[in-house]
């Protein structure tokens, strides 16, 4: 079977698009982003709600849970149970598994009686922020946001 051949005059070339200017612009943009962007970690949120001074008529049926953070980093629940050991300044974050287990128990108990779980955190003034955040982090893991902070000292 005979095939039709497309007519093309001798010496005629395919039309070509000059893309060099496009490459220039693309490189320019690439260099701009390479220079201006910095690989920086995003900051995330860990939120708590401090109690207001409005008194309630119906006291919660479940007692609040007291957590004590000592200056050396020890974490004590209900004045007796140590759920986290001493941590000097500059220590890595601690997940506090024992505290999490205690908090989970307490949350289930409060939810069972339809009460809002309230935690009182008493942190020593000399304690470091990372240890305090470890505790708030453990509270966030069981979705407890109502935290009462005690041991406020007056302004300097």
């Amino acid at each position: 079977m005979a095939r039709r051949r497309k007519y093309s005059p001798e010496g005629a070339k395919d039309p070509e698009l000059d893309i060099s200017s496009l490459v220039d612009v693309a490189f320019l943009l690439l260099i701009y982003f390479l220079v201006t962007s910095t690989l920086k970690k995003d900051e995330t949120d860990l939120s708590i709600v401090l109690p207001t001074s409005i008194p309630t008529d119906n006291p919660d049926p479940v007692d609040p849970l007291a957590i004590l953070i000592e200056a050396d980093g020890r974490v004590i629940v209900d004045k007796t149970v140590e759920v986290g050991g001493a941590r000097p300044k500059g220590s890595k974050p601690d997940r506090l598994p024992q505290l999490r287990a205690k908090l989970k128990e307490y949350k289930e108990l409060a939810d069972g009686v339809g009460s809002k779980p309230v935690v009182i955190v008493a942190a020593a003034d000399e304690g470091n922020t990372q240890r305090f955040i470890d505790v708030v982090n453990a509270l966030a893991s069981v979705k407890i946001k109502n935290i009462t902070m005690t041991g406020f000292s007056g302004p300097e």
Partner: protein, 154 residues
């Protein structure tokens, strides 16, 4: 006269050697799209000297609306506390924090988004400073406190 075949060979030899740039353009566009997607425009200037603590349960904020930001620096060698505004340009006292928070919450009265205090405390700052700033903010009318943190320490 040269044959047609010979003519064709001679014509081909005359053409300039060209480099195929299409894979390079592909790569450039790929990198460009990566940086355009991965980069984030900084909308709130924050003090880079503050190294927040690490909390794996912390969450990425959906919006930064309704927040007043204060930094808590680690205690100086002399044991002095230092608090500053978001970008660290101004040092503020506890009284100023209360006043600023009060003005901020008044200016946002009627807003749908609850006002909150974003505390960017350095991981080595003293807890006493957190308590003081939280108390100062509560006196100014904001009782929702958000701690700035990193999801991982890596």
């Amino acid at each position: 006269m040269a044959s047609r075949k010979l003519q064709a060979v001679l014509e081909e030899a005359d053409e300039d050697a060209r480099m195929d740039m299409s894979p390079m353009i592909d790569m450039v566009f790929l990198l460009l799209i990566f940086f355009m997607v991965a980069s984030r425009m900084v909308t709130v200037r924050v003090d880079p000297t503050i190294k927040p603590p690490v909390a794996d349960e912390s969450i990425k904020p959906k919006s930064a609306i309704g927040r007043i930001i204060f930094n808590i620096h680690p205690k100086s060698a002399g044991g002095e506390s230092k608090y500053s505004t978001s970008d660290g340009s101004q040092t503020v006292s506890l009284e100023e924090i209360t006043n600023r928070v009060q003005k901020f919450s008044e200016s946002r009265s009627g807003s749908k988004v609850e006002s909150s205090l974003l505390l960017r405390a350095h991981k080595d700052a003293d807890v006493s400073d957190i308590k003081k700033v939280a108390k100062a903010a509560a006196e100014g009318g904001i009782n929702k406190v958000i701690f700035g943190a990193f999801k991982t320490d890596k």
